[in-house]
């Protein structure tokens, strides 16, 4: 089975449906570096899902090329290509007639792995996505939306693919569980370091999970491809600026955590963990009407302090 992370290159990739004037994806060229999360974001009809589905050839390219670690997707057997790519969709698409364990074991079984191996692997993956092993024998209908999405993630990881495609994976989930899943996903990504293409229509989600963001405009054209910071600070044009939102300065604050700042000496004030974003810290400060926060570490020990001026600079 594959492993590591792959570099993904879109090279003038185009999808033109017959009988339509506008292309669904129009000469898309971008490179996703190995081990990075690239978020495709844009208005509906922008072609982001189409772009994603071009990669595993669920939608055939009209022209151009897509290469994974230098090999064109067109030069590989389509079934083998797909087995080497993790795939997560919004509605999860878990097999309702199979247990969680069997669902997770789908790709390993296609590779012909023995039953015992699959069982061990399922248990490992369940733990990795934060579910305990008692879930193995359950059926999808017995899970909550968030749990299903975790199982979907585990299933996509089971073949240890160097590349993951995620199509609005947290789209159908309520905001609280969604934030938790995003955190779990980011923590997981720190461990597995896959190359990920992640589609969302939510710019906040894009800013939170993306190492790089590709913003699409209607007609499947790439408006800007850059880091979240760069997009927030220097939107390429009016469309991007509008899509990102008037509060982009505020959004930029969510890109940094307190741990990245030069903290002052430990002092009194409302406690705030150093893993919090600057935005959240500011919100806390305003809410508590405080001028200073006591920054704590993972165990709750105060390690420093931060002032309002520092947060806003």
């Amino acid at each position: 089975m594959p492993g590591q992370a792959a570099e993904l290159v879109f090279d003038e990739a185009t999808k033109q449906y017959e009988g339509r004037d506008e292309a669904a994806v129009d000469h898309l060229s971008l490179t996703v570096r190995a081990g990075e999360i690239c978020v495709l974001v844009g208005p509906s009809g922008g072609g982001k899902t189409t772009a994603l589905r071009l990669v595993n050839r669920l939608i055939p390219l009209t022209s151009g090329d897509i290469r994974i670690d230098g090999t064109s997707i067109l030069d590989q057997d389509v079934v083998r290509l797909r087995r080497g790519i993790g795939y997560v969709i919004q509605q999860v698409g878990l097999f309702p007639h199979m247990t969680v364990e069997a669902n997770i074991g789908t790709v390993p079984r296609l590779y012909g792995r023995p039953r015992a191996w699959i069982r061990t692997r399922s248990a490992e993956l369940l733990e990795l996505v934060g579910l305990d092993s008692s879930y193995a024998k359950r059926y999808p209908a017995q899970l909550s939306g968030g749990e299903r999405q975790r199982v979907g993630l585990a299933r996509a990881l089971a073949g240890n693919p160097p590349l993951m495609l995620m199509d609005e994976p947290f789209g159908a989930i309520d905001p609280i569980v969604r934030a938790r899943l995003q955190d779990a996903f980011l923590a997981l990504q720190k461990e597995v370091r896959k190359t990920v293409v992640f589609v969302t229509h939510d710019i906040d989600e894009a800013i939170k999970v993306g190492d790089r963001i590709a913003i699409f405009r209607r007609g499947g054209r790439l408006a800007q491809y850059d880091t979240p910071q760069a997009i927030l600070e220097r939107p390429a044009d009016e469309f991007v600026a509008e899509f990102v939102g008037a509060d982009r300065a505020l959004k930029a604050l969510a890109l940094h955590t307190l741990a990245e700042l030069d903290l002052g000496a430990p002092a009194g004030g409302p406690p705030c963990p150093r893993t919090s974003t600057v935005r959240d810290a500011l919100a806390l400060m305003l809410q508590m009407d405080a001028q200073k926060l006591a920054v704590t570490d993972e165990r709750g020990v105060v390690v420093g302090s931060v002032t309002r001026e520092q947060l806003l600079s």
């Binding site: 083998r80 087995r83 698409g93 007639h97 789908t106 790709v107 296609l110 996509a156």
Partner: protein
Amino acid sequence: MDALREARVKTFVDAFRFIADNPHLLLVKTAEHLELSGAALGIALLLALPVGLWLGHLHRGLFLAASISNVGRALPSLVLIAFGLTIFGIGFWNNTVALVVLAIPPVLTNAYFAVDAVDRDVVDAARGMGMTELQVLRRVELPLALPLVFAGIRIAAIFVIATATIAAIAGGGGLGAIIVNRASYGDAGVLAASLCVSALAFLAALILSLVRRAASRRPVPVP
């Protein structure tokens, strides 16, 4: 009025007496009946299941499936048997062909619609993870379509068992041979054979339900 009712009751009693008195005859005729029905259903499944399932997988041929279903319902089996007499002559194959034509529509249309209706996201996930088309059908679509597929088979089985009675007019034997021969077996014999046909159809439906239940392991809801 009372005399008429009495006569009816008497016929029923006589019918059961007929069954008790002629177990061998009924057994032979039932065996013939089953042989004919079984052959027809078997051939129909062999022809209709693969076509229906695959068309459903492709989400194509809706027109074909619907047409076959309508034609099948519009063609009376009696007409087919009469028609078949000129081609196959009297006997087993004539009747079998007529019953196959009867059984194909419910099997084919149900198989088609069952697979066609499987959640597209689930199929998309299966394909996206690298299942071949045949694996998608066999591992995902078929298990999920199974209840509806079986419903079609059950309808076909009941149709075939009931309709196989008219095979007797074309020399097909079976329980129909008793039913159409009132002159020899009397009211009691006709009623007895009819009861046997009903029992067979009922039994077939029951067995197919049990098989379906065993074949499709559905998730158990958590209390």
